[in-house]
């Protein structure tokens, strides 16, 4: 197993190196002179040459890539053009909000997707199965930016039900200041027993989280259905059935351990996908996370910020993949002992 995990880690490091090079290349595709972007819109032309020197743009490509690697490793991810702050500190400011949103969305998605998948698998081919399958395909077919707009229209404009902007009401935050333990408003207000803020942040979280949940809910429902049907059809499950165990025992004691593994893996991967989906949703809900940051960076062609966000999420994705592989290796004796 150690060898397997070591191989996985080596591969992951290789992939990360490739990811860094790819983001470097993306930054260089920008038409026009990167120095113009760096120097900012109001810089006089005389500044460009100096900026070019400072950024090392006058040196050979290989040197630039090495410099870029060095920067990525030492935490110098460049300075954002539109915020004038170091990209890494921008990202760490924005990450908790996105994390909160995506975690809440995954919670919704699991709460809906898992039971739906199980019901669907329980009656394959029946009406309820078809309905749930259409529902789950609906989830993965939803243009979520549109869903976000429609939800705003319905829940705020028409029903006056839920707030649609920001993470909490700033007036409540003035009256009941929130101590930032994790940067996630709901968890922080729970930790500090700040009930007005809890209410405010929860109510602000609901709509964006529901929208982000559409895709993972669909994927999870489909995955649960597929895995459960797969597992229950396995010979070894028939074997324990044939030995006279009750269905409940068969499922809980024998099949579960296999069925959860792919589902858990898909949840881990869907996490990274949902982070990307926040690009489309956060700015609509004025949610100050990575998605809003990315959307603003794209709008102002803020190359360091764009590559920073891309790199961060790719790293999260590679890391999630690695974790899934390692955990499965630990749980699965075929790999553990092989």
């Amino acid at each position: 197993m150690t060898r397997y995990i070591a191989r996985r880690i080596v591969l992951a490091i290789g992939v990360v190196a490739g990811v860094v090079i790819l983001t470097f290349l993306i930054a260089r595709i920008v038409p026009g002179d990167p120095a113009v972007s760096w120097a900012g819109p109001h810089a006089p032309p005389s500044q460009f040459a100096q900026v070019r020197r400072e950024l090392g743009l006058d040196r050979p490509m290989v040197v630039q890539i090495i410099k870029y690697f060095e920067g990525v490793l030492t935490g110098h991810w460049g300075t954002s053009i539109h915020t004038h702050q170091p990209v890494l500190s921008d990202l760490s400011n924005a990450a908790p909000a996105s994390l909160e949103l995506v975690l809440a969305a995954l919670l919704f998605a699991i709460a809906v997707g898992v039971p739906m998948g199980l019901i669907s698998a329980a009656r394959p081919g029946r009406l309820v199965d078809h309905t749930i399958r259409v529902g789950s395909i609906f989830g993965v077919s939803m243009p979520i930016f549109w869903m976000a707009l429609i939800f705003q229209l319905l829940f705020f404009q028409k029903l006056h039900l839920l707030p649609v902007t920001g993470r909490y009401d700033p007036n409540v935050a003035f009256a009941h200041p929130l101590h930032a333990y994790t940067g996630m408003a709901v968890i922080d207000s729970l930790l500090s027993g700040n009930w007005p803020m809890l209410e405010s942040s929860l109510s602000h979280l609901v709509l964006p989280a529901l929208v982000v949940a559409a895709y993972p809910a669909g994927v999870i429902a489909r995955m649960v259905r597929a895995t459960v049907l797969d597992t229950l059809g396995e010979t070894h499950v028939q074997m324990v059935r044939a030995l006279g165990f009750s269905e409940r025992t068969v499922f809980a004691r024998f099949a579960m351990k296999l069925a959860w593994s792919p589902v858990a893996a898909v949840i881990a991967l869907v996490f990274a996908y949902s982070l990307v989906n926040t690009f489309l949703v956060e700015s609509i809900f004025n949610w100050p996370g990575l998605g809003s940051y990315a959307a603003a960076s794209i709008g102002s062609l803020d190359t360091p910020a764009i590559t920073g966000v891309t790199l961060l999420i790719a790293l999260v994705y590679v890391f999630a993949n690695l974790i899934v592989d390692v955990v499965q290796a630990i749980l699965d004796p075929r790999i553990r002992l092989g």
Binding site: D33, L107, T165, G166, R167, E199, F251, N286
Partner: protein, 537 residues
């Protein structure tokens, strides 16, 4: 067999449904909570669509940040958009020599910086000299200044290299702030500012700044403000960043913000009927312009430029802009000296445009022409205009290739040394640093060796000569300056280097409880909050 299957999953179903039920309860609980509203508010919440603070240095800041800085810093003078006169602010009076080369300002006594120090003539001199020395942002407004004297504690004397309207320059929204240069002690002042410190004399001072957060900036009243705090004033200003204007509309509609900086015409129209709100349409000292490439490509031909000018449905564009735009006459917008309603102007005339195009072998029934237009990506108003322009030109067998580009790319392309890389039509907003037509007539149209802001690449010796005289004449003989402006605008009409699509009308929405609301177009989108009066809602 279903029963079996259901039984098999009952436990898991139960867990799943439990989670689902829990979430649903949380949703309902959360949804029921409403937000609380107060009586007479002492907090003014300003809703903006983009980050408030880009930089904090009063010498160099040259962006949207002035919506906050103008409430923190004072200038020597202030432009009154109603009288079109410059009024006292930190300077109580001023005089100029007949040749407009020497300007003497009397300072207001007993004015304190937020750092606690007294504002003196030496401090004013130091502040302006720092701005000139750093030479960033809008520092060029002081370009005429040769030296500054401080004959007494409350007298500042400027000596100029060439005549200029220094009292107007001193009222500029950018680069004219007076601040305490000793604020940082031995530390670097630039670094000190960067850490969100301020050293102004204005009514408000920085309380908290959270970069990137929705509630980005909070300003609070400065107790020793020279204007005093008797009477009704807002004691705190909150700047809230809301990127979507639909969201902003919801916030102001529900009383959560007091003022919205930018909102779409459609939303503006829909909020007009709301009894809780006041709406304000303010013609801005700003227009949407389209410099035409006079140097290379098809539009280097004057006939083509005129044809294009006749081809555009200006009224249609203004109609589709639903109140955010008004027709323009001449290149200088109304509200500034030098503007005239009697200048010749182009109007939508397809027949004339076709005839002009035909005369050079293009147009309907002849060769097709391809033109490139660049505009700033993400600007929906510009996009709307380009859609209509494209449609107008298509009728004349002119194919307009519209390229939305991020500003740095758009600008770099326009400045490209390879002439064939440049666009045929550029599109941008244009506004002055201080209330003066020079920004248009000089900044936009005077010859530039390497293009910087003259993106029509227009070059006309007669025009350049007039532009060179304009500021001096304005400082000494206003009627003559106005006449000069007129002549220059007639040249611009004849040569057609820049199409003016419309003048921008600012559409602002505020709560009815905000009294004395006024938005001075000379200071783009600044609300001078001290001048407002909070009313009971």
């Amino acid at each position: 067999m279903e029963d079996v299957m259901i039984a098999r999953y009952r436990g898991f179903l139960a867990i799943g449904l439990l989670i689902a039920a829990g979430v649903a309860v949380a949703v309902l609980l959360a949804g029921c909570g409403g937000s609380s509203a107060g009586p007479v508010s002492t907090t003014f919440t300003y809703d903006t669509y983009t980050n408030v603070m880009v930089g904090w240095d009063p010498s160099t800041e040259n962006s949207n940040s002035i919506i906050a800085l103008a409430n923190v810093y004072d200038t020597l003078t202030k432009y009154n958009d109603e009288t079109k006169e410059v009024e006292p602010l930190l300077a109580t009076s001023w005089t100029t020599s007949p040749d407009a080369l020497t300007w003497t300002f009397q300072l207001r006594p007993n004015v304190y910086f937020h750092t606690g120090r007294l504002m003196t003539a030496k401090a004013v001199k130091a502040a302006i000299e720092r701005t000139i020395r750093l030479n960033q942002g809008a520092a060029y407004i002081w370009a005429a200044v040769k030296s500054i004297d401080t004959p007494s504690q409350d007298t500042v004397v400027f000596h100029l290299k060439y005549p200029g309207p220094l009292s107007i320059v001193a009222s500029a929204g950018y680069g004219a702030y007076i601040f305490d240069t000793k604020a940082s002690g031995s530390e670097s002042l630039a670094k000190w500012f960067e850490a969100a410190h301020d050293a102004g004399t204005g009514p408000y001072t920085v309380q908290t700044w959270n970069s990137g957060q929705e509630t980005e900036l909070v300003l609070t009243s400065f107790p020793k403000y020279w204007g005093g705090w008797s009477g009704a004033h807002y004691k705190r200003i909150v700047f809230r960043v809301v990127k979507q204007d639909t969201t902003a509309a919801q916030l102001v509609g529900s009383g959560q913000v007091d003022f919205v900086q930018r909102i779409s015409p459609a939303l503006f129209a829909s909020l007009k009927t709301n009894p809780q709100l006041q709406t304000l349409s303010v013609p801005q000292l700003m227009n949407l312009i389209a410099p035409l490439n006079c140097k290379s490509g098809p539009l280097a031909d004057l006939t083509m430029r005129k044809a294009i000018a006749y081809a555009i449905d200006y009224k249609g564009i203004i109609a589709a802009s639903k109140g955010a735009a008004s027709p323009s006459i001449g290149i200088v917008p109304p509200g500034l000296w030098g503007h005239s309603d009697t200048l010749p102007t182009y109007s939508y005339d397809t027949a004339k445009a076709a005839q002009l195009l035909n005369s050079v072998g293009y147009g309907p029934g002849k060769k097709a022409m391809n033109l490139t237009l660049t505009y700033t990506q993400g600007d929906s108003s510009e996009q709307l205009v380009t859609s209509i322009m494209k449609s107008n030109l298509a009728k004349l067998n002119v194919n307009l290739r519209v390229q939305p580009l991020a500003w740095p790319t758009q600008w770099a392309k326009a400045q490209s040394t390879n002439l064939s890389d440049r666009q045929d039509i550029f599109m941008m907003y244009w506004w002055p640093d201080y209330a003066d037509p020079y920004a248009w007539l000089g900044g936009l149209l005077a010859t530039e060796k390497t293009p910087y802001w003259n993106l029509s690449y227009f070059s006309n010796p007669q025009f350049d000569e007039m532009a060179g005289r304009l500021e001096g004449v304005a400082a000494t003989d206003m009627p003559q300056a106005i006449d000069l402006c007129r002549q220059m605008q007639i040249i611009a009409y004849e040569q057609m280097p820049v199409m003016v699509l419309y003048n921008v009308t600012g559409q602002f929405v505020a709560l009815k409880s905000v009294g004395n609301l006024h938005v001075n177009p000379a200071y783009a989108y600044v609300v001078f909050v001290y001048d407002l009066e909070p009313l009971p809602s």
